[in-house]
Structure formats: structure tokens, C-alpha cells
């Protein structure tokens, strides 16, 4: 990078674990061996969470499934691979070697053993002997280990989560991160247990339970493992919105957020843009797996470069300036302004006349987009002559799409389906009504929220017309 430099400082101190940048390999196949982690560090990764070590296991073939959509490969991966199937001694020796070779990088070791205090004490001590920077407790693995009372079997019961973390904290001399499973109705509960047990940090999300699909030729589950298949851990770009929501839920929780406990974020991070979003919703370090499994260790270059450039543009000097920056924007329906109004506006210069907004609005939304002919008249679709032919007539006679703004509820479906960059805009149009939230309405005029007749009168009074 001769002649070019970044201003932003990407280094982090995550619960006392230093790292030159926030990007760590997540505990997964990419961090399975010393050779791999060594190569990842050479490529520029700031840290690696070693693939979980612990109880003895055996693996199967066809362990990775994937979800492809619309010609796009690996929008998600699913796996039934277990924790490391390499002998414990080999892993511990390589961890020590890697840490010695890379003193500036974060080497965190993920662990999962039987739920007995003496066994946890033993593994924690052995990890500490390697010189590793931290420990991640794998309470998330949803397949294979959970059936043996480990992984998500622990993460799904906050009491277990708390108990085991307490055992760990009894002997831990280096930072301990509790990794949470998303296969739970409220992610906040196990995170509070981690806080209560005195953990140094949490990380989320582990993988989601999933079945990738069914083979329509053989009627077997995909991927098929000797004619059988079952639930596996789901990860990759498709899970990112779920991860962001859970991350924000922890940040907003009085106990977890209030404790200022650092959170390591993961779940579908593929680009620096994803990374920036995780940081803004409160992640203090970032873990990546699926994107690396798709493209290799080299992707860290753009993760760092893109994040740096964005931070320079936005004037963020260091990562901690970014962390949690958008948390105050996260709210819920009860606090949204019911008087906020936006309408769709189509840029006719950019529109390519695919009519996707038209059919989406008319079939499935609020019927406020019209097809208008060149002479200004309203036309029905497919109204051309059966003997019409040729591109000139098809293109020149094609009607344009227009939003009847008075009838537009601003649902934003057309905006979402439009394939053209920057063609449909959601324009904020003053509704003329004073701001009011559902929460305020419930407090001030509860009857309106409970009785349709009262609601009707309220709407008439406020000039709220529903089409």
C-alpha cells in the first residue's frame, strides 16, 4: 500500500484482548489448525477464535449444505461438523506455537466439554498454559454436541449457562467470552446469565437450527449423509438481519447493555459494510466464518480497507468511536411516530419500465400505481394489438408507471422491488398531523386503541384516510 495510508485506527482492545483490527476468524473450520491460522494472520486477520476443542468426537462426510438462490451461491451454509476432531494435545501445541509466532494477534480458544466443574477447570487451565489471549465458551453448537448435553443444550438454559460460566471463572486468568445460541426465544436471558456469572464478554450469534432442503429426485434430505440428513447450523449472509437484531437487543437491555460488557458480533458478516453495521449496533469485535469459507482468507484485506475508508470519510478516528453509534436509533413500534408519512416517487428518467412496482403494488399492496400512456390516458396491462410486433412498437408504446401520491400509504414495497438504483424514492411528506406514538395514544385515548368505532371517529377527526 505504498503511497496510500488510512487515518483511522482499526486496533481494538476487546475485554483486555488486543488486536490490530476487529476482524477475527470465528471458531469454525477456517481456524481448525495452526497452519490455517498462521496463513490467516499472514493475510491480515486481527485474531482467530480457535475451532472449539474439548470432548472427543468423530465427523461425517457431506457435512456442509448450502442455500443458493437466483444464481447466487452460498447465501447461507449449514453444517453438521462437530467441534475439533483433532487430538486435544495437537490443538494445544499448535495454539501455543501460533501465539508465540504472532504476539500482536488475538488468539482466543473456544472450548466445550462435559458439564462437570472439574472437567471445565481442567480444560481452562490447559488453554491458559498455551499463552492464548482469551477463552470462548461454546454454548451455541446446535448439532451433535447439544444431543450430548453440551453446546446449545447449555446456551438454551440460562441457569446452566450461568453455572458453567461460574465454574470457568473460578480458574480463569484470561478474558472469558460466552458465545450465545440464537436458538432461543429471548437472547437477552442467557446474556444476563453471563453477566451474572462474571464473564468478561459475550459473543453472538452461533448458528441457527436448519434443514437446507429435500432432494426432489431421491426425496432424501440435502445434504445426504448415507441416506439421512437432519438439522444443522445455519450461517452466512442470510442470517445477518437476525444477528443484528439480537446484537441490538443485548445493547438495549438494561442489565446487559447497562453492564457495558463487550460483545463480539458475528452472523453473516461478509463485507466491510456488514462489519460497520455490526459495530454501529454495539459489536466491539467481529467474527467471520461463511464469507471466508466461500472466498478464502484474502477477504480480510477489503474488510479492513473498506472499513478504514468509511471511517475516514465519516471522521471516526478509532473503532471504539463507532461501536454502538446507532443503538440509540433502535426502538420499537410503540415509539414510532404514527404521523410520519412517506410516499413513493418514481424517477421517470431512470425508470426502465419493468412494471415490477406496478404489479407488486396492484396485486399485493395498496393499488396506487397506474400505467399511463404517452397521451396521458390510463391504460390496462396487455392492452396492445395481437398483431403488434417488433421492438420499436413495444418500446415506444410502453406506458409509464405513476404513483397516485394521495393514495400511497408509503408501504415501501415498490422501493424494495425496483431493480434500478436510485429510481424510486420514499419522499417524506408532512402529514399535517401532530406527532403521536401508539404508546402515547394508548395512554391518552385508550378507547381508540380498543374499539373500532372510536378508532373510526379518531381517524375522521385526524384526517387519516385508509384506502
Amino acid at each position: 500500500m505504498k503511497g496510500w495510508w488510512h487515518v483511522a485506527d482499526l486496533s481494538i482492545d476487546f475485554a483486555g484482548i488486543g488486536s490490530p483490527n476487529p476482524f477475527w476468524l470465528a471458531s469454525a473450520p477456517p481456524s481448525n489448525s495452526g497452519m490455517q491460522v498462521h496463513r490467516a494472520f499472514e493475510a491480515g486477520w486481527g485474531g482467530a477464535v480457535w475451532k472449539t476443542i474439548g470432548a472427543p468426537v468423530l465427523n461425517v462426510s457431506n457435512r456442509y449444505g448450502a442455500w443458493h438462490y437466483g444464481g447466487q451461491k452460498m447465501l447461507a451454509i449449514n453444517n453438521v461438523e462437530l467441534i475439533s476432531d483433532r487430538p486435544l494435545e495437537v490443538n494445544l501445541r499448535e495454539i501455543a506455537e501460533v501465539k508465540r509466532a504472532w504476539p500482536d494477534r488475538a488468539v482466543v480458544v473456544s472450548a466445550m466439554v462435559e458439564s462437570k466443574p472439574e472437567i471445565w477447570h481442567d480444560i481452562i487451565r490447559r488453554i491458559q498454559d498455551t499463552g492464548a489471549d482469551g477463552i470462548e465458551l461454546n454454548y451455541g453448537c446446535p448439532h451433535g454436541m447439544s444431543e450430548r448435553g453440551m453446546g446449545s443444550a447449555v446456551g438454551q438454559v440460562p441457569e446452566y449457562c450461568e453455572q458453567i460460566t461460574r465454574w470457568v471463572m473460578e480458574v480463569a486468568k484470561i478474558p472469558v467470552i460466552v458465545k450465545l445460541t440464537p436458538n432461543i426465544s429471548d437472547i437477552v436471558m442467557p446474556a444476563r446469565a453471563a453477566v451474572a456469572a462474571g464473564a468478561n464478554a459475550v459473543s453472538l450469534i452461533n448458528t441457527l437450527n436448519s434443514i437446507i432442503g429435500v432432494d426432489l429426485d431421491t426425496l432424501e434430505i440435502t445434504p445426504n449423509i448415507g441416506g439421512k440428513g437432519g438439522h444443522g447450523g445455519y450461517a452466512g449472509p442470510a442470517v445477518k438481519p437476525i444477528a443484528l437484531n439480537m446484537l441490538a437487543a443485548l445493547g438495549r437491555d438494561a442489565v446487559v447493555g447497562g453492564s457495558k460488557m463487550p460483545i463480539s458480533g458475528m452472523g453473516g458478516i461478509s463485507t466491510w459494510r456488514d462489519a460497520a453495521e455490526f459495530l454501529l449496533l454495539g459489536a466491539g469485535s467481529l467474527q467471520v466464518c461463511t464469507a471466508v469459507m466461500h472466498y478464502g482468507f484474502r477477504i480480510v484485506e477489503d474488510l479492513c480497507d473498506g472499513l478504514s475508508n468509511w471511517m475516514d470519510e465519516k471522521g471516526f478516528a478509532k473503532i471504539s468511536d463507532v461501536v454502538g453509534g446507532s443503538l440509540n436509533r433502535v426502538s420499537d413500534f410503540n415509539h414510532f411516530d404514527l404521523s410520519f408519512r412517506a410516499v413513493a416517487r418514481i424517477d421517470q428518467g431512470k425508470c426502465i419500465r419493468c412494471n415490477l412496482c406496478y404489479v407488486a403494488c396492484n396485486d399485493t399492496a395498496h393499488q396506487c400505481i397506474d400505467l399511463i400512456a404517452k397521451d396521458g390516458s390510463l391504460v390496462e396491462p396487455q392492452s396492445y394489438d395481437i398483431q403488434a410486433n417488433g421492438k420499436d412498437e413495444a418500446v415506444n408504446s410502453r406506458p409509464s408507471v405513476h404513483v397516485r401520491e394521495a393514495d400511497c400509504v408509503g408501504c415501501r414495497l415498490c422501493f424494495n422491488v425496483c431493480p434500478v438504483e436510485d429510481c424510486i424514492h420514499m419522499i417524506e411528506e408532512p402529514s399535517g398531523r401532530p406527532p403521536v406514538t401508539w404508546g402515547q395514544l394508548t395512554e391518552s385515548q385508550r378507547e381508540v386503541t380498543e374499539d373500532w368505532e372510536k378508532m373510526k371517529k379518531y381517524r375522521e377527526k385526524m384526517g387519516i384516510e385508509i384506502h
Binding site: 444464481g71 419493468c354 406496478y358 395481437i386 398483431q387 421492438k391 412498437e393 413495444a394 408504446s397
Partner: protein, 441 residues
Amino acid sequence: MTEFPQSTAGADALGELLPPLTQNQAAIEAARCLMCYDAPCTHACPTHIDIPKFIKKIATENLRGSARAILESNLLGATCARVCPVEELCEGACVLGAEHKPIAIGRLQRHAMDFVYGKGIDLFRPGQATGKKVAVIGAGPAGLSCAGELAKRGHSVTLFEKRDLGGGLSTYGIIGLREPVEVAMAEVRMIEKLGVKVETGKEFGAGLSLTDLNADFAAVFFGVGLGATPALGIPGEDHIIDGLEYIEQSKVDAGNLVVGDNVVVVGAGNTAIDCATIAKRLGAGRVTMVYRRTENEMTAYPHEYDFIKREGVNFSFLTQPVGVHSENGTVKSLECVRMSLGASDASGRPAPQPVAGSEFFLAADQIVKAIGQQKPSLAAQLKLKTEKGFIQVSANFETNLPGVYAGGDCIRARGAASTVMAVQDGKLAARAIHERLVARG
């Protein structure tokens, strides 16, 4: 029907130019389709195939459904996938064309068609028999389309074809590089499987009269195409080869096709380009296309012109042949005169005028003419009303003789003749004939 002609010499040089798409290529291309609503590609297609529908079926690997969506609108989908000027029709109207690459609609259509023909899947059955009989004259695209649509509606159709093989220009007049004979043959077989009785070697006028037909059939459809290549009217014309025969031989008798070393092709339409392609690909050292106007007036599609330039063919514009010079029966040269463009003529194009004293010789050992086709002789034969020499028909494709219908190139008084337009004519005429037969009970 007779057997396929066996391709022999030159089969590779004139083999189908575009390779089939793999399933993966097709799926990726299909996924790129935006699935426009009331799509402009469908509007632009003369047969109005629901293109987004068939493309999305390729994306979901429902190839049988995809093929059906195509064939419901266009029974000759396999031919049209190959020979349609898609740049002027569906692909030319694609909304992605302005700033991106339009969807490869023709290639995708071929993918779906190759699937069903490759697997021998029959998608349609003859309709419940109505007991009505219809005669169709000419087994080209218009006739096949009309016959097939009538058979789907349960009518008993006999298709008379003067040639040995059905398919019309698809079989005889489009070079194998764009459409192999097998493709047209498969479509003829599909029409036969719908119950259409195909009688080849039966020429209308030669022992088959309208009176005969009217006695046996409730309606008659003529899809007879156009006539032979007109004469240039110059000395030595008997040494000039008819371009349509040149193409025909390259398709059904390639082993005996003689190609010169220095070939001159007279004309600048799509057929002329096909002739030049044959000559170039089958070993001519030099091929020159001679046209009396300029590239601005030539009737070949722009994409065809681009293609032939890349083939390495030379052009001599503003050039009109005035005589063929030969020695001992061997062509030596084509004598030409330079032209200049004057005021617009009846066709709306500038009229070329000879430049006095500008005669010159173009060395040539083979001269091929492709300067259009003569108007249908059928009109005079049956005393049909005409429009610019073409058979005049009503909106229902009925001629001035009640119960006598026509479609395809023989009625194309307006617009450029094309296979897909002929297919649409046949389809709409079949609807009209059906209405007529049903209404009469």
C-alpha cells in the same frame, strides 16, 4: 415423410454456430431476467410468447413447463429460437438492454426447446375430433403453425407440400449454421404427431386444384411463400446461380455443392449474407457482395451485417451488375457499373442511377444472386385480390374467396417477412378457421 438428409462434406463448417447453453449457464441467465410485468419482450414478439414465464420456468428447472409456455404461443419455438432476429424483437425490447446486456432470450428458448425435443416429450395431443377437414398448402412455418393449431382444436388437417421435405425455408432456405435441418424436421414430426397428415411431393396446381380441395375440405389455408429469385436481366445470366438453390444444396446435398474460389454474391439482404457465409466457410478464397445502394439502405439486419463483416467478406457498394463474362462455359468475371444515389424511389430509399462510363470488371469464378423472391404466382392462378403483388387478406387472414385463407410471406405486403410473423399468421388464421367451422356447426 422421407428420412433426414445425411450431412456430408462441409457439415462442420456450416454446423450450428451457437453451442447449446448448459443447464447452469441457462439457470444463471434465467435468474438475471427481471420478470417484467406485461413485459416488452412479449409485446415485441410477433407471437407474444410469455417470455418472463418461460424464462422463470428455466430458472426453476421446470423445462417441460417452459417449453409448453413457448409452444402454446408459437408451435415453431425451436426454429424461432434460432432464426428470429431477436435484436429487432424480444431482446431488442428488453429493459436491460439500455444500460446492460439484454437477456439472451433466443438462447434460453432454444434451451427449453432442445430439452423437450431431445427427450422426445410430446406436450400436446390432438383435440377431440370435430369431423371437420381443412387443407393446408405449404409446409413452411405458416402452414405448419396453422395445421398444428387446427389439429389441437380437433380438426382433421391434410398438409400438402410440393417439396420432398416439410419445413419450408427452415429446411431449405436458412443456412445450417443458424438452423440445422434436423430442427425443422423435428417440428414437422411434432405437427404430424398432432394428427396432421403431411403429403409431400404434392404441388398445388399440379393435379391439385382448388375445386378438388373445396370438394373435400371445409376450408383451405395457403402458406405458399414466395417465388423464385427474379432475373437480373443481364447477358450471361444463365451462368448465375440462384442463391436459394445455393443454400438449399448446402443443407440437403452439401457433398455435391461446388463453391468457387472467387465468389461474387449479388444482393445485400439476409439471404445474400447466408450465401456469402456458405462460400466463405466452404473454402472460397475471396467473397465479394455486390449491392447497388450503400450499407445504409441494405435490407440485411444490422447484426447480420456485423456477422458477415467478421467472416471476412468484401463489399462493393453502389455497384450494379451489367453482364457475366465466361470462357468455354467457365465464369471469368462480372461486369458492373458504378451507381450514384438520387432522389427517393417508391420504396422510400434513394434510387440508384448508373454513372456513365464507369463500367468495370469484378473477377469471379462463381456468381450467386440473392435479390429477393418473386411475388406469389398463386394470386394470378386463383384470381385472388392482391396488395403490392402479395395476396390480400382480411384481418382474419381470409382472401377474397370465402373459406380460402392465406398467411406467411405470400401476404407480407407490409413489414419485413420473417419466420415468426409467418407462425403468428398461421396461428391467427387457424383461430379464424376454427371460429368459422364451429359457427357453422
